[in-house]
């Protein structure tokens, strides 16, 4: 039985001319200009862009701290940087890269791209999205602000207890670290929920699960990992703060606590964390490979299943970070096996990407170069990962430069290269202009050479016995020359990024105009203008295949009947993507910003006094009441 919707007389888009439709939708969906719009926007594209830019700023900061460390290590017995600063630098480098760059930038791309790829007009929970950005920014400012006043955390991004506990780390440095975790995890959890709901409930009509782009699958898998992994580290960092602030003894062995509990909780998060960075990258690679090989992906099902399997298996590996802690041997062997098997599912993806490229007339542009560079270097990182997964080998390799080499190959080769490829690939969509191909090639080759010169020799340093996290080493160890070469590689990487940012700067002003679909790609984000209008799609597309732009030969069928006087989008069923209802999407609002401000004040205050939790909570409650105050409009309609 069909019921007549209550808003049957409201203005609809049915039969409107394109110009008229554009005018009406822009009026409804546009973000106010100026400062008001800056603080109130709920547009996923504006927030996504902001997220991406902020994440790259943190990349620069973390990269510069790495460069400073490399200068210190360039020669033996160097005294350029004192140990206190050095320890802060490597902590800032690791924490920033993991918590403020890698995970956020992957989520940032998803915030921008997932709604476009599934053909909807905004992300699910746009206000939460705004809130999550402000929280992320707050966490980043907290960490780097503290560093600027010489209160940067100094116990590594892993912050092991008891070193980070109250007895051995007096002062506020470790608290700053732990609270920064709270900020970034709140923001990561929020985005994960938005992505899952957007991908599951807001797909364009007809886009059944098996018609979703691989990238969207990757982001769903990633988001579920975030949901399960992040609570572990929030629990751990909260327990650490409690140990430090109010004298609980979660990790104090003298009072019945256990320092190893920290390691279990941290790595139960920390290992999946690596895959929350790699899976989005795998999704990006899938998108680029498909477009540049000009064919649907080879083995859609095995690739998607491997992504999901990676997401699940990655929760069974954490103990391989603890092989030197004296756990029972049999238990360790289980974790060796599970660490090995994840190489299989990663291997399946690599084979399928190569098979997709096989025998196609490839279009060699910068995104594809980065993908090829990715396969070459990521496989090195994967194989050295197989080596450190072995218990006996790991007892020698653990906490040496071999491991530093390993995970930089995985994270730079395996995630940053795809990310850079993706930046070249989607930059035209974000900005309407192409990045320069010439500068892009310079960027790629400098980054590729820099990566290998900086990190391959680190394998050897590790095999010659150089441990991690040392601010200096004696000349007679014979590590000097190799470290000097490593530093040259690091400088090359810095130069490659200078080229990249110059490219972005120049291309933003005078890059070639992109048009809607510069690469001739097949997925929905290319079916709208570049950059997309505030409402993304004038009419929501109707999807009958995985690459609608290819199969429909450019003319995609659309849905009409949505209201034009308020922000409205189509909700669809989880599996088949059948349209279920029209849903209102919230207009711009200041409350998420205020809520983030109030939450930040409470969280930062609580570093200094437990009473901040008391006086800091009412403002949060007030902002949340403002946020959720009923607006007098029926949210859902039949």
């Amino acid at each position: 039985m069909t019921s007549v919707p209550a808003d049957i007389h409201a203005p609809r888009d049915t039969g409107l001319s394109p110009a008229e439709l554009h005018r009406k939708l822009t009026k409804t969906w546009a973000t106010p200009s100026g400062l008001v719009g800056f603080f109130t926007t709920t547009d996923h594209k504006i927030i996504g862009r902001r997220y991406i830019v902020t994440a790259f700023v943190f990349l620069v900061l973390a990269g510069l701290s790495a460069a400073a460390m490399r200068l210190q290590l360039a020669r033996p017995d160097n005294d350029l940087i004192n140990p206190d600063l050095y320890n802060q630098l490597f902590t800032m480098h690791g924490s920033t890269m993991m918590f403020l760059f890698a995970v956020p930038v992957m989520e940032a791309f998803a915030v921008y791209l997932v709604p476009l790829m599934v053909g909807t007009r905004n992300i699910a929970f746009p206000r939460l999205n705004a809130f999550s950005y402000w929280m992320y920014l707050g966490g980043g400012i907290l960490l780097w602000g503290a560093f600027l006043v010489n209160t940067g955390p100094e116990n590594g991004w892993f912050s092991y207890v008891p070193l980070a506990g109250p007895q051995f780390s007096p002062g506020k440095r470790a608290d700053i670290w732990a609270q920064m975790i709270t900020f970034t995890e709140i923001s990561a959890l929020a985005v994960a929920i938005e992505i899952i709901c957007t991908a599951f409930k807001q797909r364009a009509p007809g886009m059944s699960l098996d018609r979703m782009p691989v990238y969207v699958w990757a982001m769903i898998a990633t988001s579920f990992m975030v949901l399960f992994a992040m609570p572990a580290v929030m629990l751990a960092s909260t327990a650490l703060i409690l140990d430090r602030l109010v004298g609980t003894h979660f990790f104090n062995s003298a009072e019945g606590g256990d320092p190893l509990l920290w390691q279990h909780l941290f790595w139960f998060f920390g290992h999946p964390e690596v895959y929350t960075i790699f899976l989005p990258a795998a999704g990006m690679v899938s998108a680029i490979v498909v477009t540049f090989a000009r064919r649907p992906i080879f083995g859609y099902l095995p690739v998607v299943l491997s992504l999901v399997a990676n997401a699940i298996l990655s929760f069974g590996l954490w103990v391989h970070h603890m092989f030197a802690t004296g756990l029972p041997r049999l238990g360790e062997s289980f974790f060796t096996a599970s660490s090995m098997i994840i190489a299989l599912t990663s291997g399946v993806q690599i084979f399928c990407w190569i098979a997709t490229l096989w025998g196609r007339p490839l279009v060699f542009r910068t995104p594809l170069l980065f993908v090829i560079g990715f396969i070459v270097t990521f496989v090195i990182g994967g194989l050295s990962g197989v080596m450190v997964a072995s218990v006996p080998l790991d007892t020698q390799l653990h906490d040496t430069y071999f491991v530093v080499a390993h995970f930089h190959y995985v994270l730079i080769g395996g995630a940053v290269f795809p990310l850079l490829g993706a930046t070249y690939y989607w930059f035209p969509k974000f900005t309407g202009r192409m990045l320069s191909e010439t500068l892009g090639r310079w960027h790629f080759w400098l980054a590729f050479v820099g990566l290998n010169v900086a990190f391959f020799p680190m394998h050897l340093l590790g095999l010659w016995g150089m441990p991690r996290r040392v601010y200096t080493y004696p000349a007679e160890m014979g590590w000097g020359t190799t470290n000097f070469i490593v530093t040259l590689g690091a400088i090359t990487m810095v130069v490659s990024f200078v080229v990249f940012f110059w490219n972005v700067f120049v291309s933003l002003r005078s890059g070639q105009r992109a048009g809607d679909d510069p690469w001739g790609a097949g997925t929905l984000e290319w079916a709208t203008s570049s950059p997309p209008p505030p409402y993304n799609f004038a009419r929501q597309p109707f999807v009958r295949s995985r690459e609608p732009l290819w199969t429909e030969r450019g003319k995609i069928p659309v849905v009409q009947g949505l209201r034009t006087d308020r922000r409205e989008l189509v909700l669809s069923s989880v599996i088949d993507g059948e349209p279920v209802q029209r849903e209102a999407s919230p207009p711009p609002t200041i409350w998420p910003f205020l809520a983030a401000l109030a939450s930040s004040a409470m969280l930062i205050g609580s570093i200094f006094t437990p009473w901040a939790v008391v006086w800091g909570t009412p403002p949060i409650v007030i902002t949340l009441i403002g946020w959720f105050w009923p607006k007098g409009e029926k949210e859902e309609l039949g």
Binding site: N82, P83, D84, N87, N155, Y160, P162, L163, F168, S253, D258, P259, L260, R294, F298, A324, G326, R329, S333, T336, I341, A343, L344, G347, F351, I354, A355, W358, G359, R360, P361, V363, I372, V376, V379, L383, V386, M387, S390, P392, L393, T395, Q396, D399, L460, L463, W464, G465, P467, R468, R469, V470, T472, Y473, E476, M477, G478, T481, T482, G520
Partner: protein, 341 residues
């Protein structure tokens, strides 16, 4: 002299060796000097060679895939023109490669399982208690006879060819005991008792250092393992059991006096004197050790004087404070300490 020759060799061969067969390094796991390290080194080479082949194969296939052109390649391919026959063939190849990967991984897992099974269990071993502190090592040699128990620091003497079981404890934060030429590492965790068994095949001096980040001076927390023939080890042990030697000349006498009336005795012990501090290393036979401050400086008179005069200059953050002493006191004190053979 042996260590210096070794170091020199290491410096010369360091680049070529790992690639050509991993012969020598200062503290390299590939330069195995004991059965435990040798087992891991062998396993490493198996892994490394197989992995190198796998990588080369992937890259060759990738290059091939990128270079291979379809028979009649046009400027821009129709995205929907996929050769199904070719895809089916690719399907077989990919399945085969996945199967192969699985086989390699299973082999690796079993090899590493057997590898860790084979590591020594520690029966009939000499037991030494190792305690890690920020940032030095304490070694306690126990004996059923209490008078034959003694404590030393930063230099672990062991007899060649006998299994050594180290009981690992921490006095503050987590450290990790790692002497790569002899064995893999094991953490020292507060409130937990870990053990590690290893042995040395040949006499020699093997450097190790803390492998778990333990704070400001993690970089300067090294140790030396001196492996020597059984009779040398016994001689050393008997020497260590004796109380500190008495001063023989006015300068060393003055040095002892300086030691006993300054802040030194609050942290350091010298058996046979009134000094009984336990915060820092036992100095009873300090003069017999090769380094100062856990491998920070070689143990020479000059270094020792400068170290005592200003420890923070060499190891910023070290727990050893600067003790105000005049020039004469400093000379006398270092003369005394150097004489504690």
């Amino acid at each position: 002299m042996i260590p210096f020759v070794k170091r020199f060799e290491a410096a010369v061969y360091v680049s070529a060796c790992v690639i050509l067969g991993g012969c020598s390094g200062v503290q390299s796991p590939l330069d195995a000097q004991g059965p435990e390290a040798a087992r891991v080194a062998n396993l490493f080479w198996i892994f490394a060679i197989v992995c190198a082949f796998v990588w080369a194969a992937v890259v060759i296939v990738l290059i091939w895939a990128v270079w291979a052109k379809p028979p009649n390649s046009r400027e821009k391919a129709d995205p929907l023109s996929v050769d199904e026959h070719q895809d089916r063939r690719a399907g077989y190849i990919v399945s085969g490669l996945v199967g192969l990967t699985l086989a390699v991984l299973c082999t690796f897992t079993i090899a590493s399982f057997l590898g860790s099974r084979g590591l020594a269990s520690g029966e009939g071993a000499i037991e030494i208690e190792v305690t890690g502190y920020q940032w030095w090592w304490e070694f306690k040699y126990s004996d059923p006879e209490p008078t034959r128990t003694f404590t030393t620091a930063n230099e672990l003497h062991i007899p060649v060819g006998r299994p050594i079981k180290v009981a690992l404890k921490s006095g503050d934060v987590i450290h990790s005991f790692w002497v790569p030429n002899l064995s893999g590492k094991m953490d020292l965790i507060p409130g937990q008792h870990n053990e590690l068994t290893f042995s040395a095949d040949r006499p020699g001096i093997y450097r190790g250092q803390c492998a778990e980040f333990c704070g400001l001076q993690h970089a300067k927390m090294a140790l030396r393992v001196v492996a020597e023939p059984a009779q040398d080890f016994e001689a050393w042990r008997n020497q260590q059991l004796r109380p500190a030697s008495q001063p023989v000349d006015p300068q060393t006498s003055k040095g002892r006096e300086v030691f006993e009336r300054s802040a030194c005795i609050l942290c350091h012990a010298i058996r046979g004197t009134i000094a009984g501090g336990r915060q820092g290393p036992d100095l009873t036979h300090f003069g017999s050790r090769q380094t100062i401050a856990a491998g920070t400086l070689t143990n020479t008179r000059d270094h020792l004087e400068r170290w005592i005069a200003n420890p923070q200059a060499f190891k910023p953050g070290t727990k050893m404070p600067q003790v105000p002493l005049n020039e004469d006191e400093l000379t006398a004190l270092s003369a005394y300490l150097e004489a504690l053979k």
